[in-house]
């Protein structure tokens, strides 16, 4: 049919913007818990935030099924935008997705249903992008492990009550397991499966 809903554009400069975003994600993954800037000129349709949308444009393509949460699934504009600009298929099966995006991270999602990879191909696991309002580093669970000199704290807000418990379980699956990216408005922080998490109290 004729295209009725106007699509909003993706990156201003697809090559340089996605490379800059990739660099931020790479640095964030290499130094878990560190906040890296992500600042492309991007106005994605709601409920996607600019950082999460930039990550999706950078990482997802036609070979990576993307799982989206209820908030995005209800927005035909957002779904169309993801399909058009990434070429990725939006899937309803959590287990087959390579990327997942949560527009509202305060709602609990059964993370263990995402694909944690196989013992011989742990890299095939789902990378979960969580949209958050802010990322605090003076409170929250204590992180140690590869890429962290001594220890540091990470507290993206808001997260569901069950998130950190599931994240601890996820770290126990190593070398299998999910990797998490927290996307605040213009920043990204990573929690890869290799990071050890010590919950407060």
């Amino acid at each position: 049919m004729l295209d009725r809903v106007p699509l909003s554009p993706g990156f201003q400069d697809p090559v340089f913007d996605s490379q800059a975003t990739f660099r931020s994600v790479m640095s964030a993954m290499a130094r878990p818990g560190h906040i890296e800037p992500v600042a492309p000129l991007l106005r994605p349709p709601g409920p996607l935030n600019p950082a999460a949308a930039a990550l999706l444009l950078t990482l997802a393509d036609f070979e990576t099924p993307v799982w989206v949460d209820e908030g995005i699934r209800c927005s035909e504009t957002a779904l169309q935008w993801i399909r058009f600009h990434t070429g990725a298929r939006v899937t309803k099966e959590m287990a087959e997705s390579r990327f997942a995006i949560l527009s509202d991270s305060s709602k609990p999602v059964p993370l263990q249903q995402f694909f944690a990879g196989r013992q011989d191909y742990p890299d095939e696991s789902t990378t979960v992008i969580l949209q958050v309002a802010a990322i605090e580093t003076d409170t929250g669970p204590v992180l140690t492990g590869p890429g962290i000199e001594t220890s540091l704290r990470l507290n993206p807000k808001p997260l569901s009550a069950t998130f950190w418990v599931m994240a601890v379980e996820n770290a126990g699956l190593f070398p299998r397991g999910l990797d998490f990216l927290f996307a605040a408005k213009n920043a990204v922080a990573a929690l890869p499966r290799s990071t050890q998490i010590e919950l407060e109290g």
């Binding site: 004729l2 295209d3 106007p6 699509l7 554009p9 058009f84 600009h85």
Partner: protein
């Protein structure tokens, strides 16, 4: 499989748009440029996807009905624009001409707007279709002129 005897209005619209997009893709750049400058609303547009150059695999069928096979990859440029009235136009053209891809996408967007469609049909689509038909006829005439009828000469028995 049963075939609908009378195509619906929506189907007709899709067929018409397909023909128009095909004409835009085969147009010369100046054919699009002059046609578009005559169309109202053509000055107000923005990119949805800037022109990108890539490769697609073309397929063919022997005799038009055989099993599809891959001929080879062809360089294409794709582009999408949105015009002020909200229509999004898409284009995929052969070659690396970014400006032509933009013009073809813009022409598609203008075609979708019911108000500018008659102008686009008259000033862009029709001239291109006519020119393509003339080119095709010329090529056929040239090929026909070289046609040779082979026949077996009657052999005198005894």
């Amino acid at each position: 499989m049963t075939r609908d005897p009378e195509p619906s209005a929506a189907d007709k619209l899709i067929t018409a748009r397909r023909q128009a997009m095909s004409a835009f893709a085969q147009a010369q750049q100046d054919e699009l440029l002059t046609g578009i400058s005559d169309t109202p609303g053509s000055g107000n547009w923005s990119y949805v996807r800037k022109p990108e150059i890539g490769l697609i695999m073309t397929q063919g069928r022997i005799g038009g009905s055989g099993a599809p096979f891959n001929i080879g990859e062809v360089t294409v440029t794709r582009c999408a624009v949105v015009i002020a009235s909200g229509e999004t136009g898409h284009a995929t053209i052969m070659g690396r001409d970014r400006e032509k891809a933009r013009l073809a996408a813009l022409a598609d967007a203008l075609w979708q707007n019911p108000e500018s469609r008659p102008v686009v049909e008259a000033r862009i689509v029709s001239p291109i279709v006519a020119r393509l038909a003339a080119d095709d006829a010329l090529l056929r005439a040239e090929a026909d002129a070289t046609k040779v009828d082979f026949y077996t000469m009657a052999r005198g028995e005894d």
